[in-house]
Amino acid sequence: MFTRFQTKLIFLFAALFIIVQAITYFSVYFVTKNNLENQASTQLSYSSNVFSQSVNVSTEKWINEVKIYSTDFGFLSAVTTDDQATILSALDNLSKRIGANQAMLVSLDNEIVAEISDGNVHAIENDIFDQLIEIADEEGEAKAFLKIDGKIYQYTIVPILAPIPVAWVGLGVLVDKNSLLEIKKSLPLGVDITIIEQEDDKSIKSLETTLDQHINMQVGQLSQIIASPSQNKIFTLNRAQYMVQAIDLPSSLLDNQIKAVLTYSLDVAYSPYKPLAYALLLLLGIGLLSLIGGSVTVAKSVSRPLQVLTQAAQMIQIGKYEKIVDIKQKDEIGQLADHFNEMVIGIQDREEKIIFQSEHDFDTGLPNQFRMEKYIEKLLEKKRNTDQVFSVLQISIDRFDDVRNTLGYETSRRLVKEIALKLHNLATYSNLVARLSTVNFCVVLENADSVQALKFSKEIRKSFEEPLIVDNFTIDTNIKIGIASYPEHAQSADILIQRANIAAIIANDNIDHTSLYDQDKDSYDADSLSLMGDFRKSLEEGHVQFHYQPKIDLALNRITHVEALVRWTHPERGFIAPDDFITMAEQTGHIHHLTNWGLETAIAQCKIWAQDGIDLKMAINLSARDLSNKKLPDQITSLLEKYNVAHSQLVLEVTENAIMQDPDLALSVLNALDQHGLLLSIDDYGTGYSSMSYLKKLPVKELKIDKSFVLNLSENKEDEILVRSAIDLGHNLGLKVTAEGIEDAKSLQILRDLGCDLVQGYYLSKPLPVEELNEFLATSSYGLVKS
């Protein structure tokens, strides 16, 4: 129940309070005690004086009474003549006058001549009696407290003078409780008289007392009191505290065993102060209770808000900001709570900002890939159990690096914003637009299958037909769009995104630069990866082969060239189309294995043919990757030298597109190849966008018209015009022109008429394995150039 803070506070306060109270209490106690003891001491001294005076006065009175009798001649006469009757009557009279209980006349021989007594006066011990008379003789009087038959008497012995002593009168007054009580009346409250007798060295007997019961006093205590009468001794007698003072009883005896002590009850003295003590204790109790109560309240007012704050802090720790600490105190804790709340709001704001930033693109404010994945995951959850569909479109900006390098970062950033805005405007409210990376945007189309997605992609494409104007620059923006649809192409968010991306890459190959995901073209597919593994193996094991397609020189009507075309017969899957695995090999970096293999295989074949006396120029296709390999010229040269094959025997075909991927690098590699004496050919001419001026820069010797223009040449006049102009262009640039894809005789004739230099196609011969080619060479009507 008690928290540590509370306990500490309570203990601290309580301890301080008790210390203060204790100091107060003991100060009051000691001052009071001191005062009381002083008071008691004063009372006792006063009482002692009163008591002694009272005794002395009565003694004095009796002595004087006796002296009056001494002057009476009648009495003297009776005494001296031993007139018993007269003496007795005189003693009787005397005793009544002074209230004596015993009166006696003693002769000079110490014999009791006459007596009036309530008891036995002869019980007085002889030696004490004689001693008293002797004292009376010398002093004129003798006084003592005597115990006679167990009773105490105050005795006075006075001589009868005529004028010298002729006899002694002894007077005894009983000292009993009543007479002591009578004296007590004139003493202060709390003072009592006790007559004691020291019986021997060990015991003291209380003979008479005004106390309720006799006290038991020790000899040691008594001797202490007597030793220093001025000091007040406090003793516990009969379980009560008394201050005790001895009284000097008037006694003529040197060693009177009967003594008196005055006791002052400290309990009585303390009694008026007891309410004060109780009041102080009550104060302590009430004080402690209210202090504990107060401490608890104070502690709670601190610890409860602290608990609330702690809980709130724990909530914040786990990222929950809903709870606002509600502490209405206006003190420092309240301020702390207010600041705490402000802090929470601050943290919340910043966290929201951070989360927003972590989920959004900085430049465009669009959701980023992370957010999009989450969005798609949510969507998937929603769609999982229904047959609803959705599609993910990836829009990639082409040649963004060029734009950025040319126009600068700021402008390119604004361009991206414009693109984002454009996409955003196209998307309806239910479509999410995100930016995945610098050049990649993504649109999630709800309730759209791949067909609808394609439709939408056309809208996008259409909107990008107009150039964008940014910072007064007019920028043509080329985009690629890849589409992956749920559930058609993938079942999970990341794979959907991945496949849309792959589709966008593949889209490059399509004329409209838009592609649905196609697993067959997906070199990143797990299947494809294993296929690439197989491909390397197949290269080593000879399952990859070159087929050679002859090219016919129309001027000579002879077979002068062959183009080496790779064929892969997978041991399990059988024939795999070159387009499929070459693209894959390019994408996965396996292409250089193929290049290495292809160059060596082709050059080796050249050597074989050369040895067989067959003169054929060998054409090899280089990929875009090869054009970025600066070591390629040296590599080819060393291979040619290795097989002792002339440089002119080799023709290297490169596509326009391959060159355009990194034109500068490609150009430098091409120039190097050219300088090594290697022949270069532009492949697939007409499909790219290379300008004529650019074409002019290229160190090529041959131009190969793309087969798409040739395949329908016999039927399509437009194609014929294109082919004609291509041939004219080539010839004008000093290039040989080759047409491939000849399917029929009519096309061949057209090309022959147009002055095409070389032709190849299925109509002439399909690509053949080397054995079949050799046979074809031997049997073909075209034949070889005779050396």
Binding site: L76, V79, T80, D137, E138, G140, A162, P163
Partner: protein
């Protein structure tokens, strides 16, 4: 002063007679001291013969007088032989009421101022304490000796008793404050024909009474 003058007077008489006595008889010179060695005045020494027949009729003694003058008795101690009449002349102007309750002799004398005729006969041996019923401070003793050979000590505690036949005697001493009985302090003495016998008594005394309280009565 009268008292002392009269004392001197008697002393001169004694001294005058002394050479005669010494010629024909022995004498005794005594000193009395208390237990502390102080010389005691007013001590009475009595010489008692073996056969108690000491008679010296030749010695003529003037009549003994107990004066009352200046509210005092004088002398303080008056030794007399038994059968002596003592006169009590009142030389004061005030009345005195002289009394004795001593067993040896009880009497009362009412004496008017200037009254000089009253006398009392002391016929028994012993001590008579005299008081005045009017004046408590007045106190004197009449010592009735057992023989006629006695004397009181002077201020120097000395006495001289002459005219004694040679022989053996016993000497007793008395003093108003003597503690004990006279006979307790008796001494045997030998008197020779020529010369004086020295004797010294050392006697215990009671303490002097505190008499101040008597003055009120």
């Amino acid at each position: 002063m009268q008292y002392f003058k009269s004392l001197k007077f008697y002393a001169y008489i004694i001294l005058f007679l002394a050479p005669y006595s010494i010629l024909y008889s022995g004498s005794m010179v005594g000193t009395v001291v208390d237990q502390n060695g102080n010389l005691l005045e007013n001590a009475v020494i009595t010489i008692i013969g073996e056969n108690s027949t000491i008679l010296d009729n030749e010695t003529v003694m003037p009549p003994p007088i107990m004066n009352q003058k200046n509210i005092q008795f004088s002398p303080f101690v008056l030794p007399v032989a038994a059968g002596t009449t003592v006169y009590f002349p009142n030389k004061d102007d005030v009345r005195h009421h002289v009394y004795s309750f001593s067993k040896v002799k009880r009497f009362e004398l009412e004496l008017y101022g200037g009254d000089e005729e009253k006398s009392v006969l002391f016929d028994k041996e012993g001590v008579v304490a005299l008081g005045c019923n009017i004046h408590d401070q007045m106190l004197a003793y009449i010592y009735i000796a057992r023989s006629n050979k006695f004397a009181t000590t002077d201020k120097d505690g000395k006495i001289a008793i002459g005219n004694l036949d040679a022989g053996k005697y016993s000497a007793i001493v008395w003093h108003p404050r003597l503690k004990g009985k006279e006979d307790d302090f008796s001494q045997e003495i030998s008197i020779s024909q020529n010369g004086a016998t020295n004797i010294t008594f050392e006697i215990p005394l009671k303490r002097e009474k505190n008499r101040k309280k008597k003055s009120n009565y």
